[in-house]
């Protein structure tokens, strides 16, 4: 039982972290209508940028993470402006390939400058709290709390501001939004800024939970996508719920399948979800087919 609870808690925390890139992907999917395969590598970039800033002398981890998030946000917005905006009229496969290419480029630059060695964040060493066998690391709580805070901020932006309202209008129909006078371009740049920051923080949190290496984000691309599909494409709430459900399922599968098969499980969930209920839990009947 305690083992089950430990796995559950771990899954919950990881789920909250994976919710960030899942949310990032679902926002871009809903508005730009393509899956941004570079999301994972934005996460990796964020983690490395933060480590780099720490090594360069930035005193607090939080400050480094925020500056890193700004840098990645700018990179993300630039990639939209320079690449994806121009590919919007092309068939989707063009954006897909460009996103893969962008991910490769980011990953290669990271390994060229920072090498392939695993790195870790400079975190204070703390003992886990132990409740009769159920272990909780204070850092994990901090991670979960940060993830929740980020999600809260995004949700407030989406549902309580005019920015969010306009975004959701464009997600429903780009033509409609344009007709009612919303300036789509500025809006979309802001979206990509947000998405970049979100991915960056997600990468830092993932790196804090484990180690930082060039494949960090790429390894979470399929799980993030699976979470998005599970929760329902275009549904922010769905992305979070999907991520938590998926990661809990992944953790619970470890005693059965081993840790290495977590990604295979994510793929399995993805395939089954697309077959049985492509709209996901909260999605509209999106044109999956």
């Amino acid at each position: 039982m305690t083992e089950f609870l430990n796995l559950l808690i771990n899954g919950l925390i990881e789920g909250l972290v994976v919710a960030l890139p899942a949310l990032a992907m679902t926002l871009v999917m809903g508005v730009n209508r393509f899956p941004n395969a570079a999301t994972g590598d934005f996460m990796t970039a964020g983690a490395y940028a933060t480590i780099g800033l720490q090594l360069a002398g930035v005193p607090s981890l939080i400050l480094a993470a925020l500056i890193g998030a700004l840098a990645i946000a700018a990179t993300s917005a630039a990639s939209y402006f320079l690449i994806f905006r121009k590919l919007a009229r092309q068939p989707m496969v063009a954006s897909l390939l460009a996103a893969i290419g962008l991910g490769f480029l980011i990953r290669s630059l990271i390994s060229l400058f920072a090498g392939h060695d695993q790195r870790t964040f400079q975190l204070p060493l703390v003992r886990a709290w132990n409740f009769n066998g159920v272990r909780i690391l204070p850092t994990d709580l901090a991670i979960a709390g940060t993830a929740l805070a980020c999600l809260a901020v995004v949700f407030i932006l989406l549902y309580k501001t005019s920015f969010g309202r306009q975004l959701r209008a464009v997600a429903d129909s780009a033509d409609l939004a344009r007709a009612s006078g919303i300036r789509a371009r500025g809006l979309l740049v802001s979206l990509w800024l947000l998405v970049g920051a979100l991915s960056s923080i997600g990468g830092v949190l993932l790196g804090m939970k484990a180690v930082v290496m060039p494949d960090l984000g790429w390894e979470h691309l399929i799980p993030a996508f699976a979470a998005m599909v599970l929760g329902g494409i275009g549904s922010p709430v769905g992305a979070v719920v999907g991520a938590v459900l998926l990661c809990v399922a992944q953790e619970l599968s470890v005693p059965l399948l081993g840790a290495s098969y977590k990604l295979v499980l994510a793929f399995g969930v993805l395939a089954v979800a697309l077959l049985i209920r492509p709209a996901g839990l909260f999605g509209r009947i999106e044109l999956v087919r």
Binding site: F34, P35, A37, I83, K86, L87, Q90, P91, M92, V93, A94, S95, L96, L97, A98, I100, G101, L102, G103, F104, L105, I106, R107, S108, L109, S111, L112, H116, I222, F225, A226, V229, G258, S260, Y261, L263, V264, A266, F267, G268, L270, A271, L274, L275, P278, L287, V288, R289
Partner: protein
């Protein structure tokens, strides 16, 4: 020098088989397959494992094609229900799932350590084995190219191009694309499996790390550079890609302080940049004329 050129030629021809397969799937029928390396790996490991058990190479090659095609069946069926971007990510996930499974199931595949000591193709010919392999590959690739051309110009090829152009219209005309899409998916996978078998018995030592998504996107680059949809383009693009990849090896020798690991990252960077630039500035590579 000739030996070196011949080995490049062999690799080019192996990749040409993969590109011809992708040309059938995407060039003609517009199926977005981001999981080519999965079938390449399945072909390599199937032939490798069978040959280690004593199965003669021609049979193990055949088995490689069959197993790869069968592995493509569930994905082909999935493709009927999925829009192109979902298919892309699902096939990508599939290729990673295959790689991880190969890595984990040590009892079958020897896991991370891979399969060393695979029988080299035409080993009985000693020093001339590479030449024999090269000639065989030329014949096989030529046969595949011819077959693909025949297919493209046949009624089925017409139908596949129609599917790639507009499935909805085709269905309104009384034809269900399902069967054809699955068949083409499996055919492309069989070609990739064949390429994998050739690869395995050329380098004689395969590990899971060789079957990463980068391979899939080498093939996509070949297709785009040559112009998707034409057989000439598929082969030409592959040659271009390989010249670049081999050329980069020379560059490493020319530029001081660049290690092998660095070169791997540089290649990744250039492929990434090339994908971005080609989609932005040479879309005809992806969507050009698709006749022959």
């Amino acid at each position: 020098m000739t030996a070196y050129l011949m080995s490049i030629g062999i690799v080019v021809l192996i990749y040409a088989l993969l590109t011809l397969g992708l040309n059938l799937q995407f060039g003609l029928t517009r199926l977005v397959n981001f999981g080519i390396v999965a079938f390449f790996a399945i072909g390599a490991y199937t032939s490798g494992l069978l040959s280690l058990k004593g199965v003669p190479l021609p049979l193990s090659f055949l088995a490689a094609m069959i197993v790869a095609a069968l592995a493509a069946l569930p994905i082909g069926l999935l493709s009927l229900r999925l829009r192109e971007d979902y298919l892309a990510i699902v096939t990508l996930g599939f290729s990673e799932a295959i790689r991880i499974t190969i890595q984990q199931e040590e009892w079958l595949t020897n896991g991370v350590q891979g399969l060393p000591g695979l029988p080299k193709a035409f080993a009985s010919l000693g020093g001339n084995s590479d030449l024999a392999l090269f000639v065989t590959l030329v014949l096989v690739t030529a046969l595949t190219a011819w077959g693909t051309l025949r297919l493209t110009r046949s009624p089925l090829g017409r139908l596949l191009r129609a599917i790639g152009d507009d499935e909805t219209a085709l269905m309104a005309l009384g034809k269900d694309p399902a069967r054809f899409k699955v068949q083409i998916f499996m055919l492309g996978a069989a070609l990739a499996g064949l390429g994998g078998a050739f690869y395995a018995h050329f380098i004689t030592f395969i590990t899971p790390e060789q079957f990463i998504p980068l391979v899939t996107f080498y093939v996509w680059m070949s297709l785009i550079m040559g112009g998707a949809g034409t057989v000439r383009g598929a082969i030409g693009g592959t040659a271009l890609l390989m010249i670049f990849l081999e050329g980069s090896r020379f560059a490493k020798d020319l530029i001081p302080g660049v290690s092998e690991v660095h070169m791997a990252s540089v290649r990744l960077a250039v492929v990434g940049l090339a994908l971005i630039l080609f989609t932005l500035y040479r879309p005809q590579g992806m969507f050009g004329k698709r006749q022959a």
